[in-house]
Assembly symmetry: C2
Homo-oligomer: 231 residues x 2
């Protein structure tokens, strides 16, 4: 950013386009109608200025208009709901909040380890970082796990208005963030669960989703249905 | 639990003794002086009644006196600070809370992947689950990463009263939870950082830590210094 003069009042999200954790925060900001600028951060370059604001060298990182830097998608989302309480994304009662956070953990921990890392990291990150060929076993496991996760997601979507209950919440955004990144890679067979597909169609048609659907990553084109609202 | 009559008013934490995430919640409950009963949950047995309260089949799970079940250590800790605000563990201002959560993420994500999983899971969980011998490469990486993490922790402890700032917070509990489990296995060479060791001595001397230091796991004895406050 050398040579650039950054106005004090700019809100910046450092991100990577296919990072599900970055996508979750982008959706949360957009649902709350909080304007922000996006900066791609190539974390593997370990840029020195970036390391000073986030020694863990991960994305997303939010630099808010007040200058506060918030790191870790979990911390950013909790911060956003505290600092910008309009359009609450964590639920109202203690029970609602426990259920939203349980499902955020489900997608960001369990789904991430069982599906996202096996598919997205094997295929995309290894190529990007020149770390060799994807591991066939990991990819097989990723697809098998994705099937059970879509079933569970479909069951939630069938029994509730949104994944965690009557209102759209961070649980929907976390799930959609992972699935949209995988969908970009052509990894999601939506015919496996009609209910999951219906829920995802509702997510895709939200204005918050538009920038994600319009985005393209160099070297990888999404399948035709990726940006199609009637897929 | 068949045949047992569980009084409505019992608060139960399902846990495993060496699980850092369970230890973090135990410390949080104890710091807040919230009484609770411990139940060991052998998650690898996939007990049916447990799966109905936590389909992810992970520990810790908190069943509160009001009957509310909270799953995922992140959700439990956020819940505890909302439901029992005395002795706040997440900080007061937005900036303090961002820093506490950043460091909780640091230890529960980064430290967990780079150190805890390489050492504790390789040595203890593989043996417990009969999954073969520990991987020598993973253990080497775990020890190497532990050294840099202790340096970072020591730097934090030198520049602040507690890891995240002027007050004890969930960041200290998360860090101490991981390190105490590793220390039980004899994996921590405290001579690597005097400042980290001083901080850990302060943590160990807190009343909340006593039950952890008194606990013994079948088949594994801790080194002599484990429960020693002047180690």
């Amino acid at each position: 950013m050398e040579g650039e003069s950054t106005p004090q009042a700019m809100r910046i999200l450092y991100h990577l386009p296919l990072s599900p954790f970055s996508r979750k925060v982008r959706l949360a900001l957009a649902e709350k109608r909080i304007p922000f600028d996006l900066r791609i951060e190539r974390i593997w370059e370990r840029r020195e200025e970036f390391l000073t604001i986030n020694p863990a060298c991960t994305v997303p990182v939010l630099q808010d208009v007040n200058g506060l830097v918030v790191t870790e998608s979990y911390a950013i989302c909790e911060y956003l709901d505290e600092a910008y309480p309009d359009m609450p994304l964590l639920g109202r009662t203690l029970a609602e909040r426990a259920e939203v956070r349980r499902l955020v953990g489900w997608f960001d921990d369990k789904f991430n380890i069982e599906v996202t890392r096996n598919l997205l990291e094997e295929k995309q990150m290894k190529r990007l970082l020149g770390r060799g060929n994807p591991d066939a076993g990991a990819i097989r496991a990723g697809y098998a796990n994705l099937r059970s996760h879509l079933e569970y997601l479909g069951w939630l979507a069938e029994t509730r208005a949104w994944l965690a209950g009557p209102n759209l919440s961070l649980a929907d955004l976390a799930a959609a963030a992972h699935l949209s990144a995988l969908d970009y890679m052509g990894d999601v067979d939506w015919s496996m669960s009609e209910a999951a597909k219906d829920w995802y169609a509702r997510m895709k048609s939200r204005p918050s989703f538009r920038p994600l659907l319009a985005e393209r990553v160099t070297g990888t084109s999404p399948p035709a249905h990726y940006a199609d609202l009637d897929f």
